[in-house]
């Protein structure tokens, strides 16, 4: 089951069953006078691979057995079981919490005679949540653990949100200036009713999203306009993935700098930390629409609006050029070489230089002419 996530909706009952089976296996191991164990995929660097065939970062086949009767693992094992038991309780109660909430639920003394807490730092519990996700083949959202919401949507998308005993219909064309905020879980209790868009546009910055929303760009272009507000959250990436699975092209619009590239590649290929989620959050189909250094050739004014690249931008460009897989992306190699040559960068805000709504024209033109970096 490892690494293969239950597609789409995981019924709470199924997850509870998985949790119970995990516990029952441990009990029968104890009955057989052997140490209780569970198996999880190794999430260390040595088992994280960029799979060129599928175009995203995923875990390799290395697994690891966690044992209770092992002095190096006993505490973590006990903690993992405590998390699992707690999550089962959340699922039974239909209650959700954050991993921080979970941490506080489990931050208590192990006993009067023991000067030790079950958990004393959240940094201890976070990786164990991941262990459990991988061991059970579920996502933390399936365990009723929320992450912070981040990311906003506007455009022709209608959803049904079953939550807290109620049910709401959300129409993303009717969310005014603020848009619909992407929840951490877009799978459980969340259903796409209508997806009427031609494509998805992901815009790095909230300010740029507000510009395009005010210009009703999504309405004119019939697209779903998303901003992750910087790095994309799990929920945001998952939403993008789900939309892409509905055959919608995904275009990403970021600054031409280290941070922007990172946001794009994280959406496209996933990331090291979330390698265990692999195909669930990666969108290899995503295309980079801009801003690029080569845009300067087409838009003279941009030449005046470059700013000096920071050291981190240069380093990141050099690092990316050193990857084998980037060599398959010729456009990117050119782009990065230009950055290194000119030591300049371009922000997406620069496209508001001529006039505020120029950015819409820019995007329309680039998408129409399919001027992407792939």
């Amino acid at each position: 089951m490892m690494g293969i996530f239950m597609a789409g909706k995981t019924k709470e009952a199924d997850v509870i069953k998985k949790l119970e089976e995990l516990g029952q296996k441990m009990l029968s191991q104890i009955d057989a006078e052997s140490s209780p164990t569970f198996t999880t995929a190794l999430r260390s660097k040595g088992n994280i691979i960029y799979d060129e065939g599928v175009g995203y970062i995923r875990l390799g086949g290395k697994t690891e057995e966690r044992k209770f009767v092992n002095v190096g693992q006993a505490r973590k094992f006990m903690q993992t079981v405590a998390i699992a038991a707690k999550c089962k309780k959340f699922l039974k109660e239909g209650a959700h919490t954050s991993i921080r909430g979970l941490f506080y639920q489990l931050k208590f003394s192990l006993g009067d005679n023991l000067d030790e807490e079950l958990f004393s730092e959240q940094s201890e519990s976070n990786p164990l949540v991941e262990d459990l996700e991988v061991a059970l083949g579920v996502k933390r959202e399936d365990l009723n653990l929320n992450t912070d919401r981040k990311g906003v949507v506007a455009g022709p998308l209608v959803l049904k949100d079953k939550f807290g005993g109620g049910e709401d219909i959300i129409d993303c064309t009717k969310q005014g200036r603020s848009g619909w905020m992407i929840p951490s879980d877009v799978d459980n209790g969340m259903e796409f009713l209508e997806v009427g868009a031609d494509y998805v546009l992901v815009v790095e910055k909230d300010a740029m999203w507000q510009r395009l929303n005010e210009d009703k760009f999504w309405k004119k272009e019939n697209c779903i306009l998303i901003t992750p507000k910087g790095q994309a959250s799990r929920g945001c990436r998952r939403l993008i993935r789900k939309l892409a699975s509905r055959k919608l092209p995904v275009y990403v619009f970021t600054d031409c700098d280290a941070w922007g590239w990172y946001i794009y590649w994280a959406i496209k290929t996933g990331s090291m930390n979330l390698a265990y989620l692999g195909s669930d959050i990666a969108t290899p189909e995503a295309r980079f629409v801009g801003v690029t250094m080569s845009d300067i050739k087409d838009y003279d004014f941009l030449g005046q609006l470059t700013i000096n690249a920071k050291e981190v931008d240069i380093k990141r460009a050099e690092e990316m050029l050193s990857y084998d897989w980037i060599q398959h992306h010729k456009d990117w190699v050119e782009e990065l070489k230009t950055v290194l040559k000119t030591k300049k960068k371009l922000e997406q805000d620069a496209l508001q230089g001529p006039r505020l709504s120029f950015v819409g024209d820019y995007l329309r033109e680039k998408i129409a002419k399919k001027k992407f970096l792939a």
């Binding site: 660097k45 092992n70 190096g72 405590a82 192990l110 990331s271 979330l274």
Partner: protein, 544 residues
């Protein structure tokens, strides 16, 4: 009893050297205040032990030291034993005549070898306080009391105030000497340490020390096995010095030719060997009287004896009488109460081409082992020659050299000097090669140093096994404890998670499981590796 006693003392022979030793007290161990007192205690205890061994008696010795005047270092020393006693006719020679002792003219492995001992104490008492020693000897339904001093000019005993009683008094000797220019202390050179170490090497001895500070130290015996009687052996030529040779030759009365003297008085000297010597020393007349042997001739003869062209048959190793592995172990357990004790027993070896000797080495670790100063421990090297403690001349001794040359780190001791360890080494030989007449250190003969080192290292290997065992056991215990502390919580959560099972039952099974896995008698083939570090190279700011 009487026959045994008579037999011992019939071997007395006369010698006149009292004047010489008066001028050279240091040769007898009378140098320095502490050492002088220790020497007196040493001589009396040694005599008691040797006499008891000869007579087949389990020795019980009591030593009382009274401080009479601190400024002049005046002490009364009373040594009392349950030995055979000394018959009246021998008592003067035994305690009032230098070099008249039983031991001087015999070759046997004994504690004292020069036969100066007790008479030397009489002399020391006489020249520091002017007082004779007081003696009570009980033997053969008799009890005689007297005072003894030495006429230093003629080296003859003076017996005064002699009184006799008949009746059943058992047997034993009580000697009381008053000396000055002495000092009692508990240093490693003091009388206390001497008694303690004597007890360590003589498990059959029960000894009590009544110290001037009011302390009564009792060292009970741990064994009722009396050591075998020393075997009297003829000297082997290889063990002889020019001085010895002259001494023997000039005392020879029975054999009238040097050739027959050599053949009859020394071990392994055949007529053929005499012929070989003859050809090596052609200018010596082997037919002349032994008493006419000149120093320069004796020198040549000894040189010839050591000539590589002569192949001597090694002397019999029967003469070597060790303490015994079991005895040493019992004794160290008894007196030091250490956590661990190991004794290395080696077979007799040969030095200087033909002299047999045997090394016994033991290590006591932890508990009462080592020197104590408050809570701090330090190592001690306890040296013996034929069971007699060697307290002085520590640094010049083969035993010290050998022990110090060992790389103790290899045996699990990080800092040898600061470990609670007693290293015990006893060298048994008829011819212990002392560095000087004081007999407090063994000379650094290469074969001896190497053999001591081998013996101590053999014991050290066992110590290392023990220490690593402790560490393993400790580690096992730590591991067990580290896991057990999480059992309760896990036992609570597991039934919740599984939706079945009872916490108490799960806890019981888990505890059993862990106790079994970490019990000391089950070795686990499965090595535990620390938990793998998680790869957290890339931090993302969205995980909160």
């Amino acid at each position: 009893m009487a026959t045994v006693t008579d037999k011992i003392f019939s071997e007395f022979k006369e010698h006149s050297v009292a004047e010489f030793f008066k001028k050279n007290q240091q040769m007898l161990g009378f140098s320095g205040k502490t050492r002088s007192l220790t020497t007196v205690v040493h001589e009396y205890i040694t005599n008691s032990l040797d006499a008891c061994e000869e007579a087949g008696i389990l020795p019980e010795v009591s030593v009382t030291i009274e401080e009479l005047d601190k400024d002049s270092g005046r002490y009364r020393i009373i040594a009392e034993d349950n030995g055979p006693g000394i018959p009246e006719k021998h008592i003067g020679k035994a305690l009032g005549q230098m070099l008249a002792g039983t031991k001087f003219h015999r070759y046997a492995q004994q504690r004292g070898q020069q036969g100066i001992g007790a008479a030397g104490c009489t002399m020391y008492a006489q020249i520091t306080t002017g007082k004779p020693i007081k003696v009570v000897s009980r033997y053969d339904r008799k009890k005689i009391s007297c005072e003894i001093s030495i006429d230093l000019k003629s080296n003859t005993p003076k017996i005064m105030n002699l009184s006799k009683e008949e009746g059943d008094f058992g047997s034993g000797l009580r000697v009381e000497a008053e000396i000055a220019d002495a000092k009692y202390d508990k240093s490693s050179f003091g009388a206390y340490e001497y008694v303690r170490r004597t007890a360590l090497a003589n498990p059959h001895l029960q000894i009590t020390l009544n110290a001037p500070d009011g302390e009564k130290a009792v060292f009970p015996r741990s064994s009722t096995k009396i050591p075998e009687k020393p075997v009297v052996v003829q000297p082997h030529p290889l063990g002889i010095t020019t001085n010895d040779l002259i001494d023997f030759a000039h005392r020879e009365r029975e054999f009238i030719r040097i050739s027959s003297f050599l053949q009859e008085r020394f071990a392994r000297v055949s007529p053929a060997k005499v012929d070989e010597l003859r050809s090596l020393v052609p200018d010596l007349d082997f037919n002349k009287k032994p008493s006419e042997l000149q120093w320069h001739e004796a020198e040549k003869l000894v040189k010839a004896i050591h000539s590589p062209s002569i192949k001597w048959i090694a002397p019999s190793t029967d003469s070597v009488k060790p303490i015994g592995k079991e005895q040493i172990e019992k004794s160290l357990q008894n007196i030091l109460a250490p956590q661990f004790v190991v004794v290395a027993e080696r077979s007799p070896k040969i030095f200087k081409g033909g002299i047999p000797f045997m090394v016994e080495a033991a290590i006591a670790y932890g508990g009462g082992a080592g020197k104590k100063a408050g809570d701090a421990s330090s190592s001690e090297i306890i040296r013996y020659a034929n069971r007699a403690p060697l307290l002085f001349d520590n640094s010049g001794c083969a035993i010290t050299e050998a022990v110090k040359s060992i790389d103790w780190k290899r045996y699990g001791l990080k800092n040898f000097d600061e470990e609670p360890i007693s290293v015990f080494v006893n060298i048994s030989s008829v011819y212990v090669p002392y560095t000087s007449a004081g007999k407090q250190a063994i000379s650094n003969e290469e074969e001896i140093v190497q053999e001591i080192k081998n013996a101590v290292m053999e014991a050290a290997r066992e110590l290392q096994r023990y220490l690593s065992g402790i560490n393993r056991e400790k580690e096992r215990h730590e591991r067990k404890k580290a896991i057990l502390r999480y059992v309760q919580q896990l036992s609570k959560d597991l039934p919740d998670l599984a939706g079945k099972g009872k916490p108490e039952e799960v806890e019981k099974k888990l505890v059993h499981l862990i106790e079994t896995k970490y019990s000391s008698h089950i070795e686990n083939a499965e090595e535990e590796e620390p938990l793998q570090k998680e790869g957290q190279e890339e931090e993302e700011d969205i995980e909160e």
